[in-house]
């Protein structure tokens, strides 16, 4: 039987080390809403979401109470809207009406984000895809809870450079449209390579076309728990370090698995996957950068950071895979800048640069995340950064993403405040040399060779 020490250990993780379930995300297929008439399409989307998700928040809260474990977010992911709206939407404005419908539905059921204002364009853009992408700045400016993601590349198809170029422009326009709120719109917009169909984390969640009608995916968290466990093995060798991370990741993931199963049973919706991610929050003691420091770096970004992060990421997966039958999504350590106090400090002190962050993304999920850059950064430069990150994903057969926020009216040395889970960020400097000619070539980068891997 369970003993008092085990009970105390679990409760200490929850009360003092920020152990929580980061999100229960309900994936909803909207393909059966498709119709030619825009108004009818909007009605169907609203009805389907509000019916399928009506008990989501209530169920989440019930589970929270039963196990006394915080479930920070309850969210919804939906079929990429470029597919759903393709036959009804003739203009970008038409797509914006769908964004407004999604926002209304999200507010009605009480979720804090709804993801899937998305298009999958890794090889080419359909007319609808392009209309949706061009509607993003407006859509994100006039909604509160809608998140958008665009998949512009994959290992199988290469990188759609036309889409990369367009996204550089759209990120900049989104920043302009939401400049009153420090370009907050860009925090809800992600560009992906190899985007997973079952990711429960925002802003990149969407309900892939390979998924069932409705599905429950759960994202766990727990950087604070890992950090605290590592304090016990200070100065010990790598074997003990790795063993400790694995054991902790196992425990954290088991809680996620329990919550996912319970939610699935209560909502009568099948369980999809657990996303084993170390997702930080701006709260002190809930930081991935602090884990890197505990591993032995003075600050995140110091030489050795990439190796430490590679080790951390791999051990989290090894421990987590054992704890759940179905692991998916992004699964790894997240390194967003604005959402992680340790990362923010590292940037402020000059330990961490954009280039080092890029190197770090080679060995962990997900990518250049929540990075504030000067508002006067050229769209082509943003496209260049996206292209670099997509190339890392394409060649290494992993998911990579870019969520950059060009903060209009602000420059290096200033700070931007997003509030809540999105945190705050110092503006990071961007290499000022141009890539305009590269980005403007047009067309796509071919898919990489899948053999000769040396």
């Amino acid at each position: 039987m369970i003993n008092i020490f085990e009970v105390n250990e679990t409760n200490k993780m929850i009360e003092q080390e920020n152990l929580d379930v980061r999100t229960i995300t309900l994936g909803i297929n909207l393909l059966d809403c498709v119709c030619d008439d825009l108004e009818e399409l909007n009605n169907r989307i609203y009805n389907k979401i509000t019916v399928v998700a009506k008990d989501l928040v209530k169920t989440g809260e019930e589970i929270e109470r039963e196990y006394s474990i915080p479930i920070v977010n309850k969210r919804i992911s939906i079929t990429p809207i470029a597919l759903v709206g393709a036959s009804a939407c003739q203009t970008s404005e038409d797509f914006v009406t769908i964004a407004k419908t999604l926002d209304r539905a999200a507010k009605q059921v009480g979720v804090n984000f709804i993801g899937g204002y998305s298009a999958l364009v890794s090889k080419g853009m359909s007319r609808a895809d392009e209309l949706l992408i061009r509607s993003i700045p407006k859509a994100l400016a006039c909604t509160d809870r809608v998140c958008s993601s665009i998949n512009v590349g994959s290992t199988k198809c290469g990188i759609n450079m036309d889409a990369v170029k367009l996204m550089g422009e759209m990120i900049k326009q989104t920043a302009e449209e939401t400049k009153e709120e420090d370009s907050l719109g860009c925090a809800k917009l992600v560009v992906f390579c190899n985007a997973p169909d079952d990711n429960p984390f925002m802003a990149g969640a969407f309900h892939g076309v390979t998924e069932a009608d409705a599905i429950i995916n759960v994202g766990v968290s727990g950087p604070g728990v890992v950090k605290r466990a590592l304090e016990e093995v200070r100065g010990k060798n790598f074997e003990e370090l790795c063993e400790t991370i694995k054991r902790t990741a196992f425990k954290v993931t088991r809680v996620g698995q329990l919550v996912a199963k319970e939610a699935s049973k209560m909502l009568n919706i099948p369980f999809g996957i657990i996303d084993l991610s170390l997702a930080p929050t701006p709260a002190v003691g809930d930081s991935v950068a602090e884990i890197l420091e505990e591993i032995g770096l003075e600050r995140a970004g110091a030489p050795g950071t990439t190796a430490a992060l590679a080790l951390l990421n791999d051990q989290v997966k090894k421990g987590g895979v054992m704890a759940s039958s179905y692991v998916g999504g992004l699964s790894g350590a997240f390194i967003p800048v604005s959402e992680d106090q340790g990362m923010i400090d590292a940037v402020k002190e000059g330990a961490l640069t954009l280039e080092k962050l890029e190197a770090m993304t080679c060995v962990c999920s997900v990518g250049l995340d929540m990075i504030a850059i000067p508002g006067n950064t050229a769209p082509s430069t943003i496209s260049g950064i996206i292209a670099d990150e997509m190339a890392i994903g394409m060649i290494n057969q992993k998911t990579t993403a870019v969520r950059l926020i060009p903060v209009i009216g602000k420059d290096v040395g200033e700070t931007v405040e997003f509030g809540g889970l999105l945190g705050y960020a110092p503006i990071m400097s961007v290499n000022s040399f141009s890539c305009e000619k590269f980005v403007s070539r047009g067309g796509r980068i071919p898919a990489p060779i899948h053999s000769f891997k040396n």
Partner: protein, 90 residues
């Protein structure tokens, strides 16, 4: 049978166990196991309880126990045992 773990943590004082046990008895809950320690004058108790015969819903029992705890200056927490089993048993 779904078991519930009740933990009581706080400054030691007379009658903590009595008050909690009385509440459990009044609400038809059977205690299966109790363990208790004092760490640096802090009272630390765990009970494994069978609530199946209780008429009240789980949420209500949780908040009533919480309130009871506030009255005696301790923190009382009620959780289904699954969270501990999952975490500590393969």
């Amino acid at each position: 049978m779904k078991k519930t773990i009740i933990t009581v943590v706080g400054k030691d004082t007379i009658g903590i166990i009595a008050k909690v046990c009385n509440y459990l008895a009044d609400n038809k809950m059977n205690i299966l196991d109790i363990s208790q320690t004092i760490v640096q004058e802090y009272f630390n108790m765990m009970m494994i309880v069978d609530m199946n015969n209780s008429d009240k819903p789980f949420g209500e029992i949780c908040s009533e126990l919480e309130k009871l705890g506030e009255g005696i200056g301790v923190k009382i927490k009620c959780q289904h045992e699954d969270i501990f089993n999952k975490m500590h048993r393969i």
